[in-house]
């Protein structure tokens, strides 16, 4: 379990973000400690993906601060966040389907050929294909052949490659936006295993999912977003399936909601 008096690995303070007239986030704060899994939950459109994209440098927040190890940072691009050790799995595909698995794993971080050819800009494609395979195996994902194009993989296999890439590169924090999307029951359980392994490595993990039993099973702390605001941020032990659903929908205690909870659990 994390020590909460320590400086968080990554912290967001009072983040605000609007898309034109739509206020996606207002005054959202979040702390991610080493070895801690945070569940980020909320209804469709609650602002989860927007928060992830701010944490990963895709968007700049309108308000608020981002702190890595207690030091304020502002990302000009996702590249800056990656440099700082923050890796992300995006809900909308983050892979280039026409590129090979190996090229995708190394996208933006290519290995160049040694010597003059590398200086001239040529890639060590073979190294990347071999290394990508090893990287993915290390996090428990075995792929048919890393030379294959991602477009030739099934939805679940693509998802596995995207997760593997994020986990393989992460040095501090890993943001997983609905990683169990497209996955069958067994593969979803494997993803939960990957999350636990990342936690054991001392990474901070943000896990977004609509499958509440998964969230309750794997997280240390749950942050509930509703209409762009944090409505609850508490240790997972303080929730059960019913109270979590009630917090998400804001209809706690009603009879209707209890039935829903049972249906989901």
């Amino acid at each position: 379990m994390a020590h909460f008096d320590e400086t968080p690995l990554y912290e967001a303070r009072n983040i605000g973000k609007s898309y034109g007239s739509v206020i996606a986030l207002s005054d959202v704060s979040l702390k991610i400690h080493a070895g801690e899994v945070i569940g980020l939950v909320g209804d469709n459109g609650a602002g989860k993906s927007t928060l992830v994209k701010i944490l990963s440098g895709v968007y700049q927040p309108d308000k608020g601060q981002l702190l890595v190890d207690g030091v304020e940072h502002s990302w000009k691009s996702p590249h800056d966040a990656m440099e700082a050790g923050v890796e992300t799995l995006y809900q909308d595909s983050g892979l280039a389907p026409d590129l090979s698995i190996g090229s995708n794993v190394f996208l933006g971080r290519e290995r160049m050929r040694p010597g003059i050819l590398g200086k001239l800009g040529f890639l060590d494609q073979k190294f990347m294909e071999v290394e990508a395979r090893k990287d993915l195996e290390k996090v428990g994902i075995t792929i048919p052949a890393s030379k294959r194009n991602v477009s030739q993989l099934s939805g679940g296999q693509r998802q596995a490659v995207a997760i593997g890439r994020a986990v393989a590169w992460a040095r501090k924090v890993i943001l997983l936006d609905e990683p169990t999307n497209h996955l069958g029951a067994r593969q979803s359980n494997e993803v939960l295993g990957v999350i636990k392994a990342a936690k054991e490595r001392g990474l901070g993990v943000v896990f977004i999912s609509h499958t509440l039993p998964h969230v309750l099973q794997v997280t240390d702390r749950i942050v509930v977003l509703r209409l762009g605001r944090v409505v609850k941020d508490a240790p997972t032990s303080e929730f059960n399936a019913e109270s979590l659903l009630g917090t998400i929908t804001g209809l706690s205690g009603s009879r209707v909601e209890e039935d829903e909870t049972e249906a989901i659990a």
Partner: protein
């Protein structure tokens, strides 16, 4: 724990066991190979019609035509690989040739120095148009089709305005330097072939090429992977402009003057070469070898029809038919991609 996960995901991977394709089915599924066959058949066909076709002189002509087309094809291959289109390549080549012709006409020096200056001016003009395209897309938010339509009009119009419609300069010495040196190849043709080979290596084996394809395949994923998409697109459109500028110099060397209309419509042939070569217009997938074969086939058909005394207007119909056949092949082949 990792072993347990590994085991079960392995089975995900093996769910679709890989079939080993036969050599024949591999070749038939390979657009490059089919294009090569088509090219050989066309050459054989035109030769049986008129034996002049296989002569040195005619080959020199075909290669000169090919050389005026392929650099625009290379430019268009890079641009189309990013999911864009550059309509300005033809007009830019004419404009660059005109401006270079003005510069060269005002010079008094050895032919070599004059031509080198001409090349540099062409490259600079081409790069300038590329920068304008990049700025219109990155900062004014225009889509590539519109941005390059703007520069197509501007470059084409300026060429006419500057020249009053007449060719600039009269430089038979420039033409004289292009006598063949190795068989049917003149030095400009060799330069063009060298540029084409280097461009192919860069497109398919370098980081620059990788980003070109990744942006065309998934722009968001490229940005999320830390690639500076705007700056890369700027470079690709500048490259396209520079190749167009060099083509303008090539026109000058063939005519001995800078003619304002020399590149007019050339963008369509260049795009046709790329499409025949098997590229996806939506981006992410293209092969420079395919474009090269596409350009060779286009110029072979054009020259062949001339030799057979077919009325030149049929040319465009022939090109249209080639595009239709190539596009048909792409839809017939088992799709390798789903987006």
């Amino acid at each position: 724990m990792s072993t347990k996960v590994a085991e079960s995901t392995t089975s995900v991977g093996n769910a679709s066991p890989e079939k080993v394709p036969t050599l024949l089915s591999r070749l038939l599924g390979n657009q490059q190979f089919l294009l090569l066959i088509a090219f050989i058949v066309l050459v054989a066909f035109f030769t049986t019609r008129n034996s002049v076709f296989l002569s040195n002189g005619e080959f020199a002509n075909i290669f000169a035509d090919f050389a005026s087309l392929i650099l625009l094809g290379v430019a268009e291959t890079y641009v189309i690989a990013t999911g864009g289109i550059d309509l300005s390549v033809g007009a830019t080549s004419g404009f660059a040739g005109v401006v270079a012709a003005f510069a060269m006409r005002s010079m008094h020096g050895s032919e070599a120095v004059v031509l080198i200056v001409g090349f540099l001016v062409c490259i600079a003009i081409g790069a300038l148009v590329g920068v304008v395209n990049g700025v219109l897309m990155n900062y004014a938010g225009l889509v590539p089709f519109v941005a390059t339509l703007v520069t197509l009009g501007a470059a084409g119009g300026m060429s006419i305005v500057l020249t009053g419609g007449a060719p600039i300069g009269n430089d038979p010495n420039a033409i004289a330097t292009t006598v063949s040196i190795i068989g049917p190849f003149s030095w400009p043709v060799l330069v063009v072939i060298a540029i084409t080979i280097i461009s192919g290596l860069y497109l398919h084996a370098s980081r620059f090429g990788k980003y070109t394809f990744s942006i065309g395949s998934n722009e968001f994923a490229s940005r999320a992977a830390g690639i500076n998409v705007k700056s890369h697109l700027m470079k690709v459109y500048v490259l396209s402009g520079v190749l167009s500028g060099i083509t303008g110099m090539f026109f000058y060397l063939r005519l001995g003057s800078g003619a304002p209309t020399s590149g007019a419509g050339a963008e369509l042939s260049a795009i046709a070469a790329v499409v025949i070569g098997g590229a996806q217009l939506s981006g992410g997938s293209a092969r420079l070898s395919g474009t090269t074969l596409g350009a060779l086939i286009l110029t072979t058909v054009t020259s062949g029809l001339i030799i057979m005394n077919v009325q030149p207007n049929w040319n465009q119909v022939a090109v249209a038919i080639l595009i239709a056949i190539a596009a048909g092949f792409q839809t017939l082949r088992p799709s390798k991609r789903k987006k």
